[in-house]
Each structure stands twice: as C-alpha cells, then as structure tokens.
C-alpha cells in the first residue's frame, strides 16, 4: 500500500465540509452493504420491470408511443415505493445509532450535530439515488427491448424527480429519527406517515372536494402541500407540457401558471427537503445523544 493512501494527520482545524463528507461516505458504504438497500433495489427493479412488461404487452407492440398507462404505471409505482423506502431508511438511521451508542461516539468527535445530520442525509440520499437509477434504468431497458418508442427524456425526468421526492421523504424520515427514542418507534412512525401521505391525505381531500364542493383553485393549492401529488403533477407536466390530463384542476394550473409550474413544484419539494431537515438539526442540537 502506498504511503499517500493514508490521510496525513491534519493539524488544521477540521472543516465542516470534510466532516460532513466523511460521515456521508461512511453512511453510503454502510447503506450499500446493508440488507435493506439490496432488498429495496431488487424489489423496485422487479416491480418496475413488471409494470413495463405488462404495459408494453397491453399496447400490443404496435410501436405507438405517448403518455399512457406505461408512464402512469411507473409514476404510480414510484409514488408507492419511493416514500416508503426513503422514510424507513431515514427513520432507522439516527435512532438506531442512538440505540447502539454510536451517536454518543460520533458526537464525542470534533463534529457538530448539524454536520452529522447532513452527512447522514447525503450518504443515504446517494444510496437511494443509486437504487432508483438502477431500478428505472432496468425499466427503460425493458421498454426499449419491447420496442416502445417513449421519449427518453420522460424517463430521465422521472428519475430526477423521484430522487427529489426521495430526498424530501428522507428528510422527513431523519426528523422522525431525531425525535424518536427507539428504532422500532421511529420505523413505525415512518410507516404511519407513509400511509398518511400516500392514501389518507388524498382520500380525505377527495372526500372533501366532493362534500365541500371545493373550488378547483383551492383543490390545486391543497394538492401542492402533498409532496407526492407535487411529484406526480411535476412528472406529468414535464412529460406532457400540459396538466389537462388531470381534468379541470390541472387545466386551471396549466392555464394560470404555465411555465411557472416548474418553480412552483420545485419550491414545494424544496420546502419538504429543507424544513424537516432544519427541524431535525434543531432537535439533535438540543437533545442529549444518549
């Protein structure tokens, strides 16, 4: 082994960036080696391939392309799977470190809780991104092999946006993890939050829209609060340039905001990334790592 491979002991003060990156690297290595990563990657790829094959078979190999059930199926799968993956990965992270005493050890080092949190966030985020890239890459390959002529940019958009969604959900997961005392509680809470975001909020909003005769403007505004709806609308907007496929509310959004929808959706997802992470940092700074 070459001598240069060993880090030169730093006499300078540790920088926040290098601390963060070191923790991120460790987190990524741990994640990639862990069973959850392998399991999630395989499951996501398998389900994605299933969706791709079923939809491509449905179109009868006619080679016609366009926005249809294939893209819809992939969006649907991402909506179910990515939040579950990111929420549980985030929730398990800090809580299990705390349970094992690892958190106290890390905090004993000259590093701040914020650096630790950011490091974990980036490391887990990179692992999730790799998992999504593998899964969606396999889907794109399968669709191409079936002779489907979908525009590749829609798959790229889907990949990019699903990474953004994963980062938002990971942020929420880390917040849960920072607050929870035990891993089991954190993971349980994460699954509850997943259920709330994926099913309960939409079903409640549907019922509310019908019962209260919500105006479509309000319906759209409320939908913007749910990161899953934002991800879905953004994917459609990117693929099709018009949200009119989503009926009156979508038509309203397209006509009212047009190209400004990109920053609007972006702001909503960014808020879901930044806000929980900030709260998690506050919680970690205030609480004893034990």
């Amino acid at each position: 082994m070459k001598a240069a491979a060993y880090p030169v002991p730093a006499l300078r003060a540790p920088s926040a960036v290098s601390n963060t990156l070191t923790i991120a690297g460790r987190e990524l290595r741990d994640a990639v080696r862990s069973r959850w990563f392998v399991l999630y990657t395989l499951a996501f790829a398998a389900l994605g391939l299933g969706v791709s094959f079923v939809s491509a078979a449905g179109s009868g190999g006619t080679g016609l392309s366009g926005f249809g059930r294939t893209t819809a199926g992939l969006i649907n799968l991402t909506l179910l799977f990515v939040p579950l993956m990111a929420l549980t990965a985030g929730a398990g992270s800090i809580a299990s470190d705390r349970e094992r005493g690892m958190l106290a050890y890390v905090f004993a080092q000259p590093t701040s809780p914020v650096e630790t949190l950011l490091g974990k966030y980036l490391g887990l985020g990179a692992a999730l991104a790799a998992c999504l890239a593998l899964g969606l890459g396999a889907c794109a390959g399968a669709l191409a092999a079936r002779g489907l002529r979908t525009d590749p940019s829609s798959i790229l958009w889907l990949a990019g946006l699903s990474v953004l969604l994963a980062m938002g959900m990971l942020s929420v997961g880390l917040l849960i993890s920072a607050l929870a005392r035990r891993t089991s509680v954190a993971v349980g809470t994460a699954i509850f939050v997943w259920l709330a975001l994926v099913f309960v909020s939409d079903l409640a909003l549907m019922a509310g829209a019908v019962a209260l005769r919500l105006r479509i403007e309000d319906l759209f505004a409320i939908a913007l609060l749910n990161p899953l709806q934002v991800f879905k609308m953004w994917s459609l907007h990117a693929a099709d340039a018009s949200l009119d496929v989503l009926g009156p509310a979508g038509l309203y959004a397209s006509e009212e905001f047009g190209a400004r929808l990109h920053p609007i959706f972006g702001a909503s997802l960014a808020a879901w990334i930044v806000a929980p992470l900030t709260l998690a940092a506050l919680a970690l700074s205030r609480r004893s790592p034990l």
Binding site: R26, G63, G68, A127, A130, G137, A138, P152, G247, P248
Partner: protein, 478 residues
C-alpha cells in the same frame, strides 16, 4: 328548421356581400386609366384580365403586384415564376366573379384583418372555380367559396394571420358550394376550415395544423373526408348537423384545445368512421346526439384510438353506435359517459367481432384470437370521475387504486358495468395504413444504460473499499 333560418340570417347580416362593396384601393393611379364596371382602378394584372377574352389563358410574369383583382370573365390566370400579389394589409385580394375561372401558382399575401368585412385572399362567387397550387400567407380568410359549386381547391398552402384565435378568419370556407373537391392543401394558423350547406364535397389528403377546427361541417351532407391529417388543432374534425358523412383513413393527432376532440359528432346521421388513427387527443372521439335519427347505426370500424386522455366520450343522449374491430390502446380512460348514464344503447361488439382493449385482463385458451371472458369496464374511480371531473386530479395516485380496490372488494359500491364487449380481440388489429410510426426508439435503451451505469457507479465507489475505522473523522486524529 329554426336553427337553419337563424344561422342563415346571421350570415346574411355578416355580409354575404355584393361584389361592389369593396373598399377603394388606397393608391389611386393617374386619371384616364381603365376601370372596371364598378369604377375601380385597374392594376397591371387587372388590365391583362380586362383585355382577355373568355377562355383565354393569361400568364403573369414575375414581380410583386400591389392590387386587388376581380376576375369577371372565364379565364385561366397562371403565375409564371414567383408572382406575388400583396394586399397591403387591407381588404380582399382576388375575387372570382365569373364561372370557370382558374387561378394557379400565385403567392397571395397580406389581406386586411377586418373580421366583419371577412377580408379574404381568394373569394369565388361563381361556379366551377379552380384554385390550385397557390401560397396564401398572412391572410384573414384564405379561400372563400360562396355559392361556387363544382369548384376545385387543390395543392394550396394557406397560412393565417398570427392572431389570437378569436380574431382569426377561416383558412378555408365553403358556402353552398356543392360537389367541390378540396385536396392536398395545407392549412395552418387559421380559425376553421369549414363547410356550410355544401353537399357531396370531397375533402382528401389535406393537412390542418394549429387551427381551431381542423375541419368543420355544418349542415353538409354526403361529404367524404379521407386521408387527411389534422394535428395540434383545438379540434381535429367536427361534424355538426350533417348526414351521410364518411371519415376514413385520417390522422387526428394531439388536438388538445379547450374541447380537444380528435373527431366530434353532433347530431350527425348515417356516418361511417373507418380506419382512422386517433392519437394523443384530449378526447379521441366525442359523440353527442349521433346518430340523430335511428335510420342507420353509427359505424366505427378499424380505428386506432391510442394515448388519448379519454378514448371515446359519449354524452348520455348518444345511442345507436356500433364499434367493431377498433384498437383501444393505452388511453388513460378508454370510454367515458359524461355525466350519469350507461351506454346500453351503444354496442362495442357485433356478432363475432369485438374490439382490442389494451386493458383486457382475460385470456384466450382455445386460441381463436377472441378473449374467453367478456370485457367489462366498471371501475369505481372512473365512475366517480364521470360524475366529478375535478377528481381527475387524483388520477395515477395510489388513492385511485385504493378506491378501485374498494370497488372490486365490496359489491355494494361496485358500479354497473359501463359497457361490455363479449368478443374482445386478443391482438390489436393491424394499424390503419395512415399510421406511420415516427422513429426515435434508440434513445430509450441508451438512457436505461446510462441510468444503470450511474447507479452501479455509486455502488462501486462505496462498496469495495475496506472499512478503516480509524478514518471515520479526519479531524479526530491528533
């Protein structure tokens, strides 16, 4: 019919104008110049026409002519080279006032923009006009046939003014012009291409783009609409109050305006819709009160409806339509009934022939190409959508599946089947001949490979290194 009378009166008032109602040209030429009977000064082309005898061929040489032309005798007017007739941004440009006139090969541009005056590039007021191979650009109305039966409009390129759609005129309009032939034209950026009270017209191989209605029939019977392409209009083809219409071999693609139909039928009778390719519209086919009388069922055969938001939309009033051997491929919603209502009075199979449904879940054990189970469509979510359109916002979300699961699991809330096909096809019918599939499939494979490589790269960076516990934090080393 009351409606007819009202529309007639309205159009009369809008200026089914006498030819004399032209605005005077802006540039009066010096005195002692030849004039027409109406006392309008003649330009260079006008003088050639005035000098011609009936039946003459008048050839016009290259140049830019700024004049209004009235053709008052049966002559053939041909452009030699690049002949531009410029309207100077006001009024009409060419008026055909005699039968058997031919206008061929001109570039005619820059009409007025006065909708009340219906400023047109070429207006024919007499039978048997032939308008061929002209390029009309920046025109309010393009070709306007008024009581000009047996005319031919062929090979023209008609480009409207780039105005807000409410301020545009019709690229092509036929008014009481029976047996006209409209073929091989390209019409873009106009309002409508419209047929009023014109029987037995043939419309074939035309292209309509970025208009309001690609083609619109009003009270026009016996029209054959074949092999046209209508792309990116508000509505592709809209048939209203007409009978005996054939719509075959057309490409109706991405018509997504406020109504956004590939093909709309309103109170139309004795129609056949065959072998069309209908892709990516908001609604592939929209059926409103058609067929209007029970003479003959509405016939929809061999069409491919793919990737539309809704394949076929029925208003509850629609009855007596028969769909056979069509492909319903990957439409977000294959068939919908606007408002409440069932499709009992319409059929999706006839004898042994059904349709291909990309969402058919049955199988074909005896291998005869026909699914062994009836294709029935009843999803609770689509049922909700038909009643509450605002809920479309929740399409593609897991909540949609939750609702559909409830619909399947609990018979009490399961809606009645919307329609059924007793003999669904297992394989799609061959695509209509008009379906030329655009290329560009290779990119998807590359994208997939790139994504796989990116994922593998991240893992490769992380995984193979031996863990070195002492290196958790660089700063920790003293």
């Amino acid at each position: 019919m009351n409606r007819v009378a009202i529309i007639l009166t309205a159009l009369g008032a809008m200026g089914m104008g006498e030819p004399g109602a032209h605005p005077a040209p802006q540039h009066e030429e010096p005195a002692a110049i030849e004039t027409t009977a109406q006392g309008v000064a003649l330009g260079a082309i006008g003088r050639r026409i005035a000098a011609a005898s009936p039946g003459d061929v008048v050839e016009i040489g290259e140049g830019v002519y700024r004049e209004r032309i009235r053709i008052d005798r049966p002559v053939t007017l041909i452009a030699r080279g690049r002949v531009v007739i410029d309207g100077g941004g006001s009024g009409d440009i060419v008026e055909i006032a005699a039968p058997d006139v031919t206008v061929r090969g001109f570039i005619i541009r820059n009409t007025g923009a006065d909708l009340d005056g219906e400023n047109a590039a070429i207006r024919a007021l007499a039978p048997r006009a032939t308008i061929e191979n002209n390029v009309l650009d920046d025109v309010l109305f393009g070709v306007d046939l008024r009581q000009s039966p047996d005319s031919r409009v062929a090979g023209n390129r008609i480009g409207g003014k780039r105005l807000d759609v409410a301020r545009r005129g019709d690229g092509l309009r036929l008014w009481r012009s029976d047996r006209a032939v409209v073929e091989d034209n390209v019409i873009h950026d106009g309002r409508d291409a419209i047929l009023w009270y014109s029987k037995d017209v043939v419309v074939r191989r035309n292209v309509g783009r970025n208009c309001r209605y690609g083609l619109h029939l009003m009270f026009s019977d016996g029209v054959a609409i074949t092999d046209n392409e209508f792309t990116d209009n508000s509505v592709g083809v809209y048939l209203m109050y007409s009978a005996g219409v054939e719509v075959a071999g057309n490409r109706l693609i991405r018509n997504r305006g406020p109504s956004g139909y590939g093909l709309g039928l309103k109170e139309t009778d004795r129609f056949a819709v065959r072998d069309n390719l209908i892709v990516g519209n908001r609604a592939g086919i929209y059926v409103d009160g058609s067929p209007f009388t029970p003479d003959r069922p509405g016939e929809f055969t061999g069409n491919t409806l793919a990737h539309n938001d809704v394949g076929v939309v029925f208003l509850p009033s629609a009855r007596g339509n028969v769909f056979t051997a069509n492909n319903f491929i990957d439409n977000v919603e294959q068939v919908s009934v606007a408002g409440r209502g069932a499709l009992d009075a319409n059929r999706f199979w006839d004898g042994e022939v059904g349709n291909f449904w990309s969402d058919y879940t049955g199988y074909d054990q005896n291998g005869d190409g026909v699914g062994d189970f009836v294709h029935e469509s009843y999803t609770l979510f689509e049922n909700l959508l038909d009643r509450e359109p605002a809920l479309r916002l929740f399409l593609f979300s897991p909540a949609q599946q939750a609702v559909e699961f409830v619909g399947r699991a609990i018979p009490a809330v399961r809606p009645e089947p919307k329609f059924c096909d007793e003999v669904p096809l297992m394989r799609p019918q061959p695509l209509p001949a008009c379906a030329v599939v655009e290329g560009g499939g290779g990119g998807l494979g590359l994208t997939g490979a790139a994504l796989l490589a990116a994922g593998a790269g991240v893992i490769a960076c992380a995984a193979p290194r031996r863990s070195r516990p002492g290196r958790i934090l660089k700063g920790a080393t003293p």
